[in-house]
């Protein structure tokens, strides 16, 4: 984002240097604004305004006596000092650190297989892998909850049959791995399709040149193809990261099935939901939402900066 902010004024400054646009073009271009206005109105009303209102609300506190009063950073202090908010935040960071690399590795593995055409029925498999994208997270979580359920779930029976007795996928230790499996099930296909498309656009002659040089296949994949699809991987890293830090639906549904293993504040989103909706502490929940938003923006921008600095070296 930072580079774009720098580039925008530069482009505007350059405009007088260009051949002068006629008044006709200028008037025409102004008309373009009308194409953008409908979206902008909705965008302002349903994205920017709520964001502003969240920040505003977070600075106030409602008391039973005295009504709503300005309280400055009090809600932020409460959020920052809330052990449950931070333990939830640390949990989703750990979750993201495991789930995203594993999923991207699986997705890249299959995308490569389909791109090389080294498995039969690639078209059929690609369609199958993409199916979970069409399944709502609620339904996905419900299905997996039944499958993993400790008493009657078939997967537990299977684990018993193979020799692992007393496996409890919903025990506090295995709950997070179970959620990771569910999310990997939901999103691998989508990631695979994007990576596959990116791999398909790697020029054929580049690969053929490498083959004629007797480059081993693994080297072609790691040294030739991987660097060329890096923009796609970075994009997916972002999308997955933003999604992972907002983990909500899966733990909420699993909580219905196993309340002992998932606390009401298991993730920051559950904390916000629990505080704001169930607990009706709107101001505090707004502050927590702002903090979570900042955490996400900071992590995203940091990884962008990290990527840029590394990208500069490798190129």
């Amino acid at each position: 984002m930072s580079s774009t902010a720098i580039r925008a004024p530069a482009a505007r400054a350059a405009r007088p240097g260009r051949p002068r646009q006629s008044a006709w073009i200028h008037r025409r271009d102004r008309r373009g604004l009308w194409f953008v206005v409908p979206f902008l109105v909705a965008f302002l009303l349903f994205m920017i305004a709520p964001l502003g209102y969240a920040i505003y609300t977070s600075l106030y506190t409602s008391r039973i006596i005295g009504g709503t009063v300005f309280s400055g950073g009090a809600n932020y202090t409460t959020t920052f000092q809330s052990g449950e908010f931070w333990s939830g935040t640390v949990r989703v960071i750990i979750y993201a650190a495991i789930q995203i690399p594993v999923m991207l590795a699986i997705a890249f593995f299959f995308a490569t297989i389909f791109d090389l055409g080294v498995a039969k029925w690639g078209r059929l498999f690609r369609t199958i892998f993409f199916i979970p994208f069409a399944v709502p997270a609620v339904v996905g979580a419900v299905m997996w909850a039944f499958l993993l359920e400790p008493q009657f779930g078939p997967f537990v029976h299977a684990a018993n049959a193979v020799g692992f007795s007393n496996v409890d996928f919903f025990s506090p230790n295995l709950m997070l791995p179970s959620i990771i499996v569910i999310v990997i099930w939901e999103w691998t296909g989508y990631n695979m399709v994007i990576l596959y498309t990116a791999l398909k656009s790697v020029p054929r002659d580049v690969v053929e040149a490498a083959i004629l040089d007797d480059t081993p296949l693994w080297k072609i994949i790691i040294r030739v193809k991987l660097p060329l699809v890096r923009p796609a991987i970075v994009l997916l890293l972002f999308l997955n990261l933003i999604g992972a830090l907002q983990l909500f639906t899966e733990p909420l549904i699993l909580q219905y099935f196993e309340p002992q293993a998932i606390s009401v504040n298991y993730t920051p989103m559950l904390y916000i939901y629990n505080t704001g909706i169930a607990g009706a502490q709107y101001n505090l929940a707004a502050a927590a939402a702002v903090v979570l938003g900042l955490v996400i923006v900071v992590i995203s921008v940091a990884s962008l900066a990290f990527r840029r600095s590394r990208g500069g070296v490798s190129r």
């Binding site: 984002m1 373009g32 194409f35 349903f46 994205m47 069409a134 639906t249 920051p268």
Partner: protein, 337 residues
């Protein structure tokens, strides 16, 4: 566009083996069958015959097996929900999850979807709500994105760049930071328990705007628009008659993504609806699952299962029918590049 150039490449490539310095080149000829298959599948014909990579024949078998195993993992929950939608409540728990059991209760379960079981709401009504929200929200998002994407791609009015970057920056803003404040704002403007509280925010799709802009850049030539202008056509007429038909593949992709987004949305409707007659499917099924577990309404379990199945069927069908839009990776890929 790409397939045209690569098919030209084919001829020299196919004749290459004799001159190839690498021994692997000899195996090129074996790729003929694959290529024919690729042509039949309408795939871009740029699959390099696997023999060129120096892979053994057995590799294909091994990798196909790996794919099959992952497909099994992917399909297991789907198979489970299909099988268990035919079971009674007792059998869901007492019989093996991956095989059928008597009595065959599919039609009985299915009929329950039209009833208001235990007063928690009627599935068929939720299905209607979901379709309404998805069509209006997804359709609206696509329309707004088409206008805005075209505006950003083909006009450079004052501040257009800055505005576009603002929209892109919104991709970073977490839904959580928007949804709860939306709820608070709704309380002030009476949009709680209003279908518009669900539909209107669903029409805001920054990703859609980005995708449409990229799509217009590559598929609606500037010269074409300028020519129409010289002929005296109005901007709106140019958009509807000239640009829009060229944007159809992009529109379909954005529509598909937005409809799925609304169909699967859970957090926003969960927060803003307290009357079950307004629920979309996700919230209704979530409520059933919760009540079945925690309020002793175990008779809801078969409903959760059949309800889940009926929820995913329309979307899976939609994806299979519109395969070429997501499969060609059309815009999904252009985000990435």
């Amino acid at each position: 566009m790409r397939s045209a150039t690569t098919s030209d490449n084919h001829v020299p490539n196919a004749q290459a083996p004799g001159e190839s310095p690498s021994g692997r080149g000899r195996r090129l000829r074996a790729g003929g069958g694959r290529r024919r298959r690729a042509a039949r599948d309408n795939l871009p014909e740029d699959v390099i015959p696997i023999e060129m990579y120096g892979l053994k024949r057995g590799t294909t078998t091994v990798l196909t097996t790996v794919c099959a195993l992952f497909a099994l993992f992917t399909l297991a929950p789907i198979a489970w929900i299909v099988i268990n939608s035919t079971k009674t409540q007792a059998n869901i728990f007492e019989t093996f999850g991956f095989w059928f059991a008597r009595p065959f209760a599919l039609f009985h379960n299915f009929a329950l979807l039209g009833q208001n079981v235990d007063g928690y709401g009627t599935y068929i009504q939720w299905l209607g709500n979901t379709a309404l929200y998805a069509v209006l929200g997804g359709g609206g998002a696509t329309a707004l994105a088409a206008f805005a994407g075209y505006g950003f791609a083909r006009f450079s009015f004052r501040g257009s760049r800055a505005l576009f970057y603002l929209v892109i920056a919104a991709l970073l803003v977490p839904i959580s930071a928007i949804t709860l404040p939306l709820y608070l704002t709704y309380a002030k403007v009476h949009l709680i328990n209003s279908i518009w509280g669900m539909i209107l925010p669903s029409m805001v799709s920054p990703v859609g705007v980005y995708l449409m802009r990229v799509f217009v850049e590559v598929s609606v030539p500037r010269e074409l628009i300028d020519a129409a202008r010289l002929d005296g056509a109005s901007e709106l007429r140019i958009f509807f008659r000239l640009a829009l038909p060229l944007m159809v593949p992009g529109l379909m992709t954005v529509l598909l993504l937005s409809v799925v987004g609304v169909w699967n949305n859970y957090f926003l409707p969960l927060i803003i609806f307290s009357q079950n007659r307004l629920y979309p499917l996700t919230v209704g099924i979530g409520l059933w699952a919760q009540r079945a577990q925690n309020s002793g309404n175990a008779e809801l379990f078969p409903l959760v299962v059949i309800g889940g199945l009926v929820t995913i069927i329309p979307l899976i069908a939609l994806f299979l029918v519109l395969q070429r839009y997501w499969r060609s990776g059309l815009l999904l890929g252009s985000i990435a590049n």
